[in-house]
Symmetry: C2
Subunit: 341 residues, 2 copies
Amino acid sequence: MKRFDKSSITIKDVAKRAGVAHSTVSLVMNDREHVSPKLRERILKISNEMGYMPNMVARSLISKKSATVGVVFPENPHFFTITYFLMIIDGIQNACKKYDRALMFFSLDQTKGESYYKISRKWLIDLMIILNVDYTRDISKDIRDLKDNGIAFSLVTKYNGKEKVNSVCVDNLEGVRLALEYLASKGHKRIGFISGSPNSADGPERLDAFKVLSKKMGFDQDEDLIVHGDFTFESGEREVPKLLELKKRPTAIFAASDYMAIGAMRAMKAQGISIPGDMALMGFDNTLEVAYVEPPLTTIRQPLQEMGEKAVDLAVRSMNEENFEPQMAVLKPELIKRQSC
Amino acid sequence: MKRFDKSSITIKDVAKRAGVAHSTVSLVMNDREHVSPKLRERILKISNEMGYMPNMVARSLISKKSATVGVVFPENPHFFTITYFLMIIDGIQNACKKYDRALMFFSLDQTKGESYYKISRKWLIDLMIILNVDYTRDISKDIRDLKDNGIAFSLVTKYNGKEKVNSVCVDNLEGVRLALEYLASKGHKRIGFISGSPNSADGPERLDAFKVLSKKMGFDQDEDLIVHGDFTFESGEREVPKLLELKKRPTAIFAASDYMAIGAMRAMKAQGISIPGDMALMGFDNTLEVAYVEPPLTTIRQPLQEMGEKAVDLAVRSMNEENFEPQMAVLKPELIKRQSC
DNA sequence: TTGAAAGCGATACCAC
DNA sequence: GTGGTATCGCTTTCAA
């Protein structure tokens, strides 16, 4: 087992060369006062010459701060191919640069007894971003552990517990409204809906929004017009035939996620149904793929990058501002018109 | 500035409760010998009861090993939306789970004097995966620093320096051969080529392979048939018109990356050129998007996930095996037939 | 303003 | 087998 070379330059080496105590060098490296300008400058010069580089691990151990952002995501064998999350991560990465922190990723397998708090302790993560909570599990104790121990964190999803926490989400009611109003403007009144996972925050919200608004807007109310997916491509492909087989077919289909819309598109193409000629189609999210499908998908954009960045911003503020109240940031969705309706 | 609760359980707390020295607890936690079975079991039980969790940071500091995999990527404002890299990262993440390491990401900005070696020192990264090297810069000193200091690493690209290093890449000659033979089998003899970035390892390799093989296979040899992109969507969109404007148009276009092929497709559609009717089109890589475009793109698959996983495997071996010789793993590409030719 | 000493949590060596 | 002690690189009192 090889080891690091012992030769790496430490704060003591710099101190010795400068003829001062290493604590003085520490003060300089951390830009603190109580060091005379000319000594400060001399030490800075020497440390540069020697190629000194602070050891973040040692710094982390003594200070209990990690200079990282820990992103925790649910166990999933192909997490890094899900563009929905990646766009959020892209925003998180931008924020990391802004705050000069490194990015760490942890997959959370709650069935193995892993928890957000344990991860934070194990790695001294003091700033955590939680993606996509599994709402079939009660995470309120875990959340409380984080709070009680002063760990700054944000959820990138709505939180349904009592605790006040930082969270970032999109205004689903507004998003569904944008979609339905657009469909109405195109003359549709019979609209099929493919709902998302019931074990998420967004799934039920969008479903409720659809129910409420479609009634308010006077659309057909048959129960058959709603089928249930789980946000994935496969579920869209699987569920859409139920809509197509209806005695009285809808004229438009609104899927609660782009992946389901693309799956539905695949299934409809296989049946020779033309979009938007025979059937209008809309998605939700505006993930990377939807600009490439044929026809390009009209959808509701979630500002995913902004959401990732905002999540970090909130966590940083709750770390730095003495009396910061955790808050929920609800971002505005946007209608992206393309050619599927 | 809030701090962690001091209350987190340490090895000493466990030792005190068990009435033993903390060094004994350490031995147990690390599954080492020299502890009697019954004492071992008692300590294990107590540590579980107390919810003890090893502090990876402290462990890292003393052992100079980080229990992480550090992925270094070139500065890019939207790195996490480039699916090419993400598929590699997906493989890296799988390997991380296998070896029980956490994932860390670092963007490298060489213009700011950052280097692979400095990053490894700063964060005590003992296992590093280097994505996509910028070959306009000389990284041989940096690479030597990594080697000399016993840091295990792999490149996910070909390395052109003298040092022997772990690297993972695809057999570009074979990939180009697969593509050209397929095009030939479809009756094409006049093939346009959009080359990739000259500042990469793959770009020039694929270009050379195209030149050599297209001559050997008796395709038309006009210089005009080769235009120069840089792997990006935009460059494909920009360069393909040069091919279309030729007095004697090619009957097929082969792009050195899928992104360029998709860009070319966009430009051709805009001109009303039907694919594959008027023009056959092939890409290279098999990134996520190509299955969604219309028509689905025929391409050469790089086994990106396997490449990411293999890169970690090699680095782990060079860390663990005493006389491991760094090696270059050249993986086989594969023809993926879809509908663009 | 500067320096000496303590300590973060863990590993490893060397006595016993 | 088990326990005491030094150490990893750094931050942080506290004296001087």
